[in-house]
Assembly symmetry: C2
Homo-oligomer: 548 residues x 2
């Protein structure tokens, strides 16, 4: 590996740990038994061995040499900054317990467990990856661990390698599956523990016990860096509106956090759009209004942040897409026979009036996408829709109409951006480097203490790292029952943006001011070596949520 | 202005200056008379007052109080990191000469001079912008100063404000115009000096005397940061080819510098494509070959860097576009009558065989763009072509053909990116902060010494800043005659990538290795506070060019 100067310098960083973990051994403090956030009876029935376990916090204990044990680790799903530090924390934790302990990494995600594709992670490998971004130490993958054959196939290699515990680093679904696996191995008395770690840049895996998922901090700061740069350009050239789409799946946490960091003119929050039952036209009108109000002050420029999942949160769009899916499935042959240039009119004539009107209002490119670009199941591929272009085109159309009516007199030219891959593998910020290392180290302590079905938990994260509280949360505690592919399933509740939460309220209180005024903030690139107020601040979201 | 923590911390940075400038007054050392790089007689005839002046270098002199003078400054053209530091260096320089000196900034570019739109830049304004990115202190614009009426209009406000000298911060064209203005004011004996400063992220304003244009360093490092992050993601997920287009206008300096920093699997260099008379199919075949070779090793992922100006450097594409422009201009009416769905076939039937074949090979979206999206003069808008998507679509088509022939057996899925606005207003790296401040300070010394028609010059830039050599270069020295809009004009020679230059040769020597192996480098974000090997390195381009 050819290394950059920063990589070399950054390798020497020693992540900070909570006090309780600093001695390398811990005393377990058990809380009261827990229950799931909802559907207690159903969850309890599905997880007889891992339901109701107590919350755990660690206090500093006396270092003790435990019998040797081997541990396996899996990276599951999309990349998030800090994954390598979870692994190095886990490695250092188990080595502190007993130098003979071994760590095995399964290759390219959960599939590596099923396919028996693994490698031992030795000290020299681990040292190459400390404080680096990416999941490339063992790769990641999206295979879902949910079938008994997979569990049994995994158990074969677990037995063969003498693995006492598996650590699964993943998002809400992966942690749900980690718990199902923990329950299965417990029920079978295989003596294999399973521990989860909360990973996702999307920030949607959090709750009373998990303050934040790792990677959110670094990814948001990286996006905020480039958005800030664009805003400075926007404010210098004063001639473009920049429409910026941001990753984050369904939840708008990333867009909201970036908005709090950069103070854009507009940020759409999907959860609010849904709660207010806004139509696509409502969203477009809102943006166009800001454009027109700024134009009235001579400012024909601005920035708009758009969460990736927006389209599916617009109730009317959801209904349109549902009807389109049903209609095209039922009339595939007839539709295929329609002349390309007639397809739009054909569809408009077939839909219910409400959906027909919305469909007719869409720019041609998007309308085509909705009927042509379909996934193997015949469904519209919503994630392929370039929402940033869709919105700017519709805003342009609306402004043109307002211009004719004399309600708008400005210039409107747009630039488009989509940020996602730029931030998922950034080198972790000090926060994520410390948080991830602590999560991994905590996982090793949960293992040493015989726990299974727990998620590694590090709390009090807006305090200095020494004061962080390490422990474990029973995964069942975060579950409820939800309909998935027509079946009721136990799943960890996904955390969407709460409209009564402090981050959204802080945003909502300021957005009208940001809309009209140009009060951009330019956060600049993540710093690793400077003053603590520059290098060590958690996200605005976390600061606002944890503020007493 | 709401400020980020980094902005606040960075404001305290004191840019480093060449030794000769440190005392605040300089001794002028004049070299031999100069001549233009080509067309000496023609240039001399056009610039009788500013031709043949000597090169100037500064040595440390004794501080002296000069009579008070006022200076004007203009930001011209696209943003580049460090512009605010040129202005603060200029401000500090003239204030050191005499505290009564005043600096006026013309608003939104050269248009501000013509329209008498300006503001005095006082110490408290300057202090708000030290070491920040962007041009927002006074804004920038693209008005070209080339007409006598503009010069005279400018002179009115110059007289009114008692301005002794104008500093024009811009790219090759803006500096050419600065020199025309200098010549005009000299010929008229107006007693107004004009000094240029070399700005452009594109890196195409450089020559024997100007080692680099400011902003190139920071912009490339910002792009290299996000490309590095994408590469780390690419190498973790192992399932996508990322096609990444990079700003840079005609020249490929940015793409080449980024390639040297991140070691991608493919980087296309427009100047090489042109020199080798490569067709679009040649470029596509080259990329597809790398994809196939990597697939043969089980690596169905990779990165491709594409310079913004590529299309216009493919001789065959240039010919196609020229014929399309001519044909559609001559047959606009007939073409307008052709059914949309028949337009492609219509065009194919009308072009010469060579161009017809190329046109037929283009993906539908691009073909449509070439005939429909035309500028007000009826010409194809090449800059709107999404080259990154064009190439990936054509690579996919070629791979599908190879698959049928049994020559390729892999998976190909692509992601697309375009980086430009992300880097033009980044906060300047230490290099750009120092370089720009020195350029501005040098400009003040050129003014104090009565010079006009000079470009501020700071050389020896791979040495520590104290050893940098400050001085001035007659702008006429960089000029030659070129055809512009049908007329021969004196212009500063644009510096394209030299295929026999050290940066390209270093790239060419390694690219086959980078293509097949995954030897990505992850530069990470620009650091301002860390160890010098992380924070203070100039670009690879500069290091290679200046290596003895």
């Amino acid at each position: 590996m050819t290394k950059s100067a920063l990589q070399i310098a950054r390798a020497a960083y020693q992540p900070k740990l909570p006090k309780a973990l600093a001695t390398g051994a811990v005393k377990v403090v058990e809380g009261a038994p827990t229950q799931s956030v909802a559907d207690q009876e159903a969850i309890k029935a599905l997880f007889p061995n891992t339901y109701g376990m107590p919350l755990i916090t660690f206090e500093a204990g006396e270092a003790a040499q435990l019998p040797a044990m081997n541990v396996g680790v899996i990276l599951s799903g999309g990349q998030a900054p800090g994954g390598h530090n979870v692994i190095s924390g886990l490695f250092d934790g188990i080595k502190k317990l007993n130098l003979a302990n071994k760590l095995y990494g399964f290759i390219l995600g959960p599939g590596g467990l099923v396919d028996h594709n693994y490698k031992e992670l030795t000290a020299d490998i681990i040292d190459e990856y400390r404080n680096t971004g990416g999941f490339d130490i063992i790769g990641s993958g999206r295979t879902k661990l949910e079938k008994v054959e997979q569990f049994e196939k995994g158990y074969e290699i677990i037995k063969q390698l003498g693995i006492k515990a598996l650590v699964i680093i993943g998002g809400d679904d992966s942690n749900t599956n980690a718990c199902v696996l923990a329950e299965y191995y417990a029920a079978k008395n295989y003596g294999v523990q399973v521990i989860g770690c909360p990973k996702t840049i999307d920030g949607d895996l959090k709750n009373d016990m998990i303050e934040t998922s790792f990677g959110f901090d670094t990814a948001c700061k990286t996006y905020a860096e480039v958005i800030g740069n664009i805003q400075r350009d926007c404010n210098s050239a004063r001639k473009y509106w920049h429409f910026i789409k941001l990753m984050g799946r369904s939840a708008s946490h990333i867009a909201l956090e970036c908005a709090l960091q950069v103070q854009p003119n507009v940020c759409i929050v999907s959860e609010e759009v849904e709660a207010k039952d806004m139509s696509l036209d409502d969203v477009v009108t809102y943006i166009a209004k800001v454009v027109a109000d700024r134009a009235a002050q001579g400012n024909n420029f601005g920035t708009v942040l758009i969460p990736e999942g927006l389209i599916e949160f617009i109730p009317a769009m959801k209904r349109l897409i549902a009807e389109l899916n049903d209609f095209l499935a039922a009339n595939a042959e007839e539709f295929a026979g329609v002349e390309k240039s007639q397809q739009r009119e054909y569809i408009i004539g077939k839909l219910t009036p409400e959906n027909s009107a919305i469909y007719a209002s869409l720019p041609e490119g998007v309308a085509r996408q909705l009927t042509l670009d379909r996934d193997p199941h015949g469904n519209v591929q919503v994630s392929l829709i370039e929402t940033e272009k869709l919105l700017s085109e519709m805003v342009a159309t609306k402004l043109a109409a307002w211009k004719k009516e004399g309600k708008y007199n400005g210039k409107f030219a747009a630039q488009h951006h989509f940020f996602g891959y730029e931030g998922r593998c950034a080198a972790p910020s000090n926060f994520d480097a410390d948080y991830c290392y602590s999560l991994g180290y905590t996982a090793s302590m949960l293992i040493a203490n015989g726990k299974t079905g727990y998620m590694s938990s590090v709390r009090n994260t807006t305090a200095p790292a020494a004061e962080w509280i390490a422990g474990g949360v029973p995964i069942t505690m975060m579950m409820n029952m939800e309909r998935r592919h027509g079946e009721m399933k136990p799943v960890i509740q996904k955390a969407l943006v709460k409209l009564d939460g402090a981050p959204f309220k802080a945003f909502a209180a300021q957005r009208d001011h940001w809309a009209l005024n140009t009060d951009y903030v330019y956060p600049g690139p993540i710093q690793y070596f400077g003053p603590t107020e520059v290098c060590d601040q958690p996200t605005k979201t976390l600061q606002l949520e944890q503020a007493k």
